[in-house]
Each structure stands twice: as structure tokens, then as C-alpha cells.
């Protein structure tokens, strides 16, 4: 038996309430959901069973693949855009500014309610929306551009807008670990701007970039509200299908099975992304610093 110090015993006592809360409202529900994905539903009632029917039903349906592809596509486009657009801003904040005013200004926009932002994009992109009416008044188009709203484009623009501040937060905290001195040393030793970026900064903040990418990806690929309100018929995703099982249609075990299949798809994307960075030699081969 390992000896536990007084400090540690007190530490365990202090984290116990949260542990209990997370056990009851996070771990147990997740296990329950997994167990339920093997149950059956009859006339909106759950019947405990052990069947793979729910998984088989999802996997034998071509629609399921199509919707999952849509979800992954939303997630990937949003994650790429968020990281690519936020990285220069994070770089600027960490290396070119002294105060935190700009950083806070961006973070505050994160608290502009999620639904309000979806609504705002609907007003902007709609066929009577700001972009279309302005373009028509300027005489650049005669017909409103219908594809702006109710399309995957609208979903991705909105999700990117929602995710940018959070992505930036993660990237800034990752870049703060890469000390200015390393960057200066590399420049002094004759590295170009690009070399500093790809051979010093990126390998050192690798974890943060992967973290920002995956967070954005998971949250936007699993989002069902934005595609439902802005995605149109072609923009339907697995998330909407799962949400509907738990609201109207009512086959909970089927919904649970699809949720776990979606999580499995997320895991595949994660492994693929890490492999890709490895192949591009952007991942660190060894530890550079503590």
C-alpha cells in the first residue's frame, strides 16, 4: 500500500464532492447511454435487451453515411478555418502586443449568445437578408443568391464564427508556452520567418494546435442546432437525426447507438489528423522543453 501524505489525503477529500458529482451525472449517464444502445424500443417504451439491431440498422442505411459525412465535413471545414484564421491572430497577440486588451476584446465576443449568432447569420445571409439586398441595390445581381442561406456554406460560416474565440483562446495559451527567446534565437541563427514557424513554433505548440483543432472539430461536427436552422435539406447531419430520436420520433436506443457511432467517427478523424501532422513533420519527434 502506497503511503499517502497528509496533504494528499486532504487533497482527495477536497476533490471528492466534484468526483461524486461527475460520477453520478457524467460517468453513469454515459455508461447508461452505452448500455441503452443495445436495448429495444417499442411504442416509446424502452425494453432492456442485448441486441446489435440498432447499430446494424444505422450501418445498413446509406442515409446514415451521408448524414455522418455531412457532420464530419462541417466539423473539418470549421476546424480548419478556425485554426487557420485564428493562428495569425494568436501569433500577433502573443508576440506583437504587450497588453491583453485585444485578447480580451476577442474573448468577450465568445459570450455573445450562441443562438443569437445563428439568428444574426440568418438575417445576414437570407434571400431578403443584408448581403442580398445590398448587392441588389448596388445592381451587382438581379436575383437574390439563394445558396447563401440553407446550405452547408451557411452552417460552416456560422460555426466558424461561433468557434473562433474559443479556438483563439486555446492557441494563445499554447503559444504562450513558446518563449520569445526561442524565436529570437532561431532568427539570430539565420532561420527565415517560415523556418521559425514550421521548425520552432509549430513543433513546440503542437499539442495546443491539435487541441484547438479537435475541440473545434468535435463541437461543430456534433452540433445540431446550426445545421437544423441554417443548413437546409442538403445540410442534414447525424446530430439532427440523433436529437430527433430523443425529442419527437422517440427511438432512444437507436439514437444512442448512432451517438456512439458518431463518437467512433470522431476518434478516427483524431487519429488521422495526428498521423497527418506526423507525416508533414510538424509533430515533435522528441521533447524540446519542459
Amino acid at each position: 500500500m502506497m503511503k499517502i501524505s497528509r496533504q494528499e489525503r486532504m487533497g482527495l477529500g477536497l476533490v471528492a464532492p466534484s468526483f461524486f458529482f461527475l460520477l453520478v451525472f457524467f460517468i453513469i449517464p454515459a455508461i447508461l447511454l452505452f448500455v441503452c444502445s443495445f436495448w429495444m424500443a417499442q411504442a416509446f417504451r424502452l425494453i432492456p435487451a442485448f441486441t446489435f439491431d440498432n447499430y446494424a440498422r444505422a450501418l445498413s442505411n446509406t442515409g446514415f453515411y451521408f448524414l455522418t459525412w455531412n457532420a464530419l465535413k462541417n466539423g473539418l471545414c470549421t476546424a480548419v478555418l478556425t485554426v487557420v484564421l485564428s493562428f495569425p491572430a494568436a501569433y500577433f497577440i502573443v508576440y506583437r502586443t504587450r497588453g491583453n486588451l485585444l485578447f480580451y476584446l476577442i474573448l468577450v465576443s465568445w459570450f455573445s449568445s450562441y443562438l443569437v449568432r445563428i439568428y444574426a447569420w440568418r438575417v445576414i445571409l437570407g434571400s431578403n437578408g443584408l448581403i442580398n439586398t445590398t448587392l441588389m441595390q448596388l445592381g451587382l445581381i438581379d436575383q437574390p443568391l439563394e445558396m447563401l442561406l440553407f446550405s452547408p456554406f451557411a452552417t460552416i460560416v456560422t460555426l466558424t464564427h461561433i468557434m473562433l474565440p474559443f479556438g483563439l483562446l486555446l492557441l494563445v495559451s499554447a503559444l504562450r508556452d513558446v518563449k520569445k527567446e526561442y524565436v529570437e534565437a532561431a532568427r539570430d541563427l539565420g532561420a527565415s520567418q517560415t523556418e521559425v514557424l514550421t521548425r520552432v513554433i509549430l513543433p513546440m505548440c503542437y499539442k495546443g494546435v491539435v487541441g484547438a483543432f479537435m475541440f473545434t472539430f468535435v463541437i461543430s461536427a456534433g452540433d445540431f442546432v446550426t445545421p437544423q436552422l441554417l443548413g437546409g435539406r442538403d445540410g442534414m447531419t447525424t446530430g439532427i437525426l440523433i436529437a430527433n430520436q430523443f425529442r419527437t420520433a422517440g427511438n432512444w436506443p437507436f439514437g444512442a447507438a448512432m451517438a456512439f457511432l458518431l463518437l467512433a467517427a470522431f476518434l478516427v478523424v483524431y487519429l488521422g489528423f495526428v498521423r497527418l501532422l506526423d507525416l508533414l513533420r510538424l509533430a515533435p519527434g522528441r521533447r524540446f522543453h519542459d
Binding site: 486532504m10 487533497g11 468526483f19 461527475l22 491572430a89 465576443s109 449568445s113 431578403n128 442546432v225
Partner: protein
């Protein structure tokens, strides 16, 4: 170049919010330019809507309860984590971060499954439970970095000088980490106030503000949504600003006090 890009980035973030705010004061129902005139009619309309007012009250109640519970749980956890080492700390840190690493959809359906299996009626209580689950990871993350720098030997010194554990907490620990905890509590409130994805599954008959905005959006595009949105935006952004200023002011006070100590 880069500076220009960053300001463009900020403009992109704020433009939709600015547009909604502008049109919430529009005197006509049109949501397009040219802007015809300023009026408060949409605010008058929304403030006479009892559904809206009820859901606003509910959101404030849920936000305050969430912030209270999260602050207690989160502060204890952050203080506990500072005392733990090695694997236990890593494992618990990961567990505590789990709820935000998954899509809200997943948390929503898992919770609604739990509530239905144990027979707990969906109400503002279940909404609060869900919100605590969602805000706790953010709270712990926000407070943790500050507490990691907290020197445990300060507490020990107080204990050696005869303070009880409670006294050393109240007189030594709390004044140091207090402002951070206050800021994180406000953060929890704001996150709860805006939460929609999980809430949609776990709420019963009583609605919160985002649920009301959602049902307004599904009905028709009516300009009073603009007013409702701006009220919602104003409350959460205003709160965050107040919280931020509070933390900043406290830190400045502490710094100037320390500078004075050094002088004497």
C-alpha cells in the same frame, strides 16, 4: 499587415452582433438598409411579453444557482488538485475536463436518459444540474492556473503560527485566490445564461431565455427577436465585463499594496 488582419478578424467577430443591435432599434419591421429611423418599439413589445419575462427570470435563477454550486464544487476541486500529485492529479484533471470534450448533444441525451431511468421530473433543477456539469470544467480550468502558483507553504506557515484550518483558509488562502474565484463564478453564470444545446433536452415546462429565443426563431422572423437577442447579449457581455474589471481591479490593489510594503 498582420495588425490589419487582426482588426479584420475582430470586425468579423463583432459585425453580426452589431447588425442585430442596430436593427433592434429600427423603427420599421424591415431588416435591411436603408435604416429608416430609431425607435424602442421592439423593446416595448418584448417587455410586455410574459413568456419572455418568465424565461428571463428562469434564466437568472438557473444562472445564479449554477454559479453557486459550481463555485463551491470547483473551488474545492481546484484547491484539492493543488495538493495532489502525479497520476491521481492527471486522471482527475482529465475526468473533470471530460464534459466539455464531448459535444453538448451527447451530454444532453445521456442526462435525459439518466433522469428518465431514475424517474426525476424534468424541471429547472435538472437544467441546473446539466449547467453545473457544463460549467464545472471551465471553472476549474480558469481557477487552476492561478492556484497552481499558490504557495501551499503559506497555509502551512499560518497553521504553524496557530491558525485553525478554517482560519488559515479564510485569512490566507481566500484573499489570494478570491478575485480569481469571483471571476470564474461570473464566467459560470454567463455560460449557464447562454446554454442551449443541453438545456433543450433536460428542460421541462419552464423555459429559459435561449429556449424562448429558439421558439421565436422557429415561428417567424419578427423584429422583436432582435430586441430579445440584444437583452440577452447585453446581460452576458455586461456581466463578463464587470467580472473582468473586478478581477483586474483587485489584482491592481494587491500589486500596489505589495509595492507599498516593499517601500517601507
Amino acid at each position: 499587415m498582420l495588425r490589419f488582419y487582426v482588426w479584420l478578424y475582430v470586425a468579423f467577430l463583432y459585425a453580426p452582433i452589431a447588425i442585430i443591435t442596430l436593427f433592434s432599434f429600427h423603427s420599421s419591421a424591415s431588416l435591411t438598409f436603408p435604416f429608416e429611423g430609431v425607435s424602442l418599439r421592439w423593446y416595448a413589445k418584448i417587455f410586455s411579453d410574459t413568456t419572455f419575462l418568465n424565461s428571463l427570470t428562469n434564466s437568472l435563477i438557473v444562472g445564479a444557482s449554477t454559479a453557486a454550486v459550481t463555485t463551491v464544487l470547483g473551488s474545492l476541486t481546484a484547491l484539492g488538485l493543488a495538493r495532489l500529485k502525479g497520476r491521481i492529479q492527471t486522471v482527475f484533471g482529465l475526468l473533470a475536463f471530460g464534459p466539455v470534450a464531448l459535444p453538448g448533444l451527447f451530454l444532453g441525451i445521456a442526462l435525459v436518459m439518466l433522469f428518465s431511468q431514475v424517474g426525476l421530473q424534468r424541471s429547472l433543477v435538472t437544467v441546473t444540474i446539466a449547467h453545473v456539469l457544463f460549467t464545472l470544467p471551465f471553472f476549474i480550468e480558469a481557477v487552476r492556473s492561478r492556484i497552481e502558483y499558490f504557495d501551499l507553504s503559506l497555509e502551512e506557515a499560518a497553521r504553524d503560527l496557530g491558525a485553525t484550518p478554517l482560519q488559515s483558509f479564510r485569512l490566507v488562502t481566500l484573499p489570494i485566490i478570491g478575485p480569481t474565484i469571483g471571476g470564474a463564478a461570473i464566467l459560470s453564470f454567463a455560460l449557464s445564461f447562454d446554454e442551449f444545446i443541453i438545456t433543450v433536452f433536460v428542460s421541462g415546462n419552464e423555459t429559459t431565455l435561449p429556449l424562448t429565443i429558439w421558439s421565436m426563431m422557429r415561428r417567424a422572423v419578427s423584429p422583436d427577436i432582435n430586441a430579445a437577442s440584444v437583452i440577452s447579449l447585453g446581460l452576458s457581455i455586461g456581466l463578463i465585463l464587470i467580472g473582468g474589471l473586478l478581477v483586474w481591479y483587485q489584482r491592481r490593489l494587491a500589486l500596489s499594496a505589495r509595492a507599498k510594503d516593499l517601500e517601507t
